[in-house]
Amino acid sequence: MNYRDMSMAELLALAPPGWGGVLLDGLWLSLQVAGGGYLLGLLIGMAGAAGKLSGGPVIRDLLACYTTVIRAVPELVLILLLYFAVPEALNQLLVMVGQGEVEIGPFAAGIAVIALVQGAYATEVMRGAIRAIPDGQIEAAYSLGMSAAKTFRRITLPAMLPGALPGLSNLWLIATKDTALLAVVGFTELTLAARQAAGATKHHLLFLCAAGVLYLLVSLISNLVFKALERRATRGMSHG
């Protein structure tokens, strides 16, 4: 293939001689991993915040270890640990109890890593937001006979949203950018797709810049969405 004399439009075209389709496929994979990891991370964060605020001393200590370790170890190292060490240990364990081996693909490992990292940060974000709710509101809910689950769903969750949203929107942006790290284990998300296109065509600057533009679009659009969500969550409150 002679990529040398192709124009920019031809190189970025979606159909095969161009590499635009490969980039978009990479973007789609990135978004899937980021979305899956983010949602799972939110669940971990919710459970973590609940545990830190109202769990017993052992649970609180364990959660403190979790958030401290995850936030101090580089994501790249965590990816290697989860991609190479955890499946190995899991399989040894499975063989010991007489089960077959399982294989953890890069997609699942990617979602797991991002969920673990996001969970640690989300725990702190949500803990802060829940603590900022006046005690009286929650006590009022209990005094009206609401169950703990109902109180959480109807009072705590909506009341903590305005405080948590800025942090959560930041976490989403971190999630989309963290997917790039999966390139080191050979997962063809956007960054690695761009690198492959660049390597094949020798147009390094063009493809890496194109990937950058796609990432930038994602973060700008996400910003708009989260701004709108924030406006919705804080409606009725005074906008200082």
Binding site: D61, V73, E88, K177, A194, L208, S219
Partner: protein, 259 residues
């Protein structure tokens, strides 16, 4: 500080962790440590050098970036905001590759570059790593500094101006120190994020801690030991940063209290 008694559940947890660590030390293979001691120390050195130099350089860049956004003329403020958005909106790995593979592939074709004194540096990996990490730190910290500058109470600046201070003197003596003091608590987190970003330079063949352990993994075929030790090393480095900042913040607040 008075010695606090450890609650019993914590003693149990510590005992369990201690048991786990002892098992790891005794059961796992660590004989490779001696062979790779120098390589690990070398990688650690590059990690630390990159962390310190890029943070300092990035912070120095962040000061004008923040100042211009807080008070500068429109076009400059706009440029600074674009730079911060660009850095914060794209993954650092992509930025590093863009510099190393993208710009790096252009340099040989520029006339005069091959013969210049810069050439020997441009063929190595660490200058690209340094520039990418510095720009990244500047982008994130520039945004923080903007908030720091904007948050200094107007009255303090007006008081300085009413005393006839030169604008540059105000910046040097009042505005900058007060802004830095305001962002100091966030710097701890930013530094740890920067530490966690340094392994990315291993992807462009700079031999830092992460790259050294990658080599060890390939050469010894060990699955757990190198990864666990590497995680422990980064954990300890992050802990040291936090301890250092705790001390720094205490001494700053003591000075601010006029002690």
């Amino acid at each position: 500080m008075a010695e606090r008694r450890l609650p019993p559940h914590r003693l149990v947890l510590i005992a369990i962790v201690g048991l786990g660590v002892t098992m790891m030390v005794l059961q796992m293979r660590w004989d490779w440590l001696l062979d790779y001691r120098d390589a690990i120390l070398g990688g650690l050195w590059l990690t630390l050098v990159l962390l310190v130099t890029t943070s300092v350089a990035g912070f120095l860049l962040a000061i004008p970036l923040g100042l211009v956004q807080a008070t500068g003329p429109r076009p400059l403020a706009w440029l600074a905001r674009c730079f911060c958005t660009l850095i914060r909106g794209t993954p650092l790995l992509l930025q590093i590759w863009l510099l190393y593979y993208g710009l790096g592939s252009l340099f040989p074709y520029l006339p005069g570059v091959r013969g210049s004194w810069l050439w020997p540096y441009l063929t190595e990996a660490w200058p690209y790593a340094f520039v990418a990490l510095t720009l990244s730190f500047a982008g994130y910290e520039g945004e923080v500094m903007r908030g720091g500058f904007a948050g200094v109470p107007r009255g303090e600046l007006e008081a300085a101006r009413s005393l006839g201070m030169h604008p540059l003197t105000i910046l040097r003596r009042i505005w900058l120190p007060r802004a830095v003091q305001r962002v100091l608590p966030t710097l701890n987190g930013e530094l740890i994020i920067q530490l966690k970003a340094t392994p990315l330079v291993a992807t462009i063949a700079a031999v830092d801690t992460y790259a050294v352990f990658g080599r060890i993994r390939q050469e010894t075929y060990l699955v757990y030991e190198p990864l666990l030790l590497m995680a422990l090393i980064y954990l300890i480095l992050a802990g040291l940063i936090t301890l250092a900042f705790g001390a720094l913040e205490r001494s700053w607040s003591r000075r601010a209290a006029g002690d």
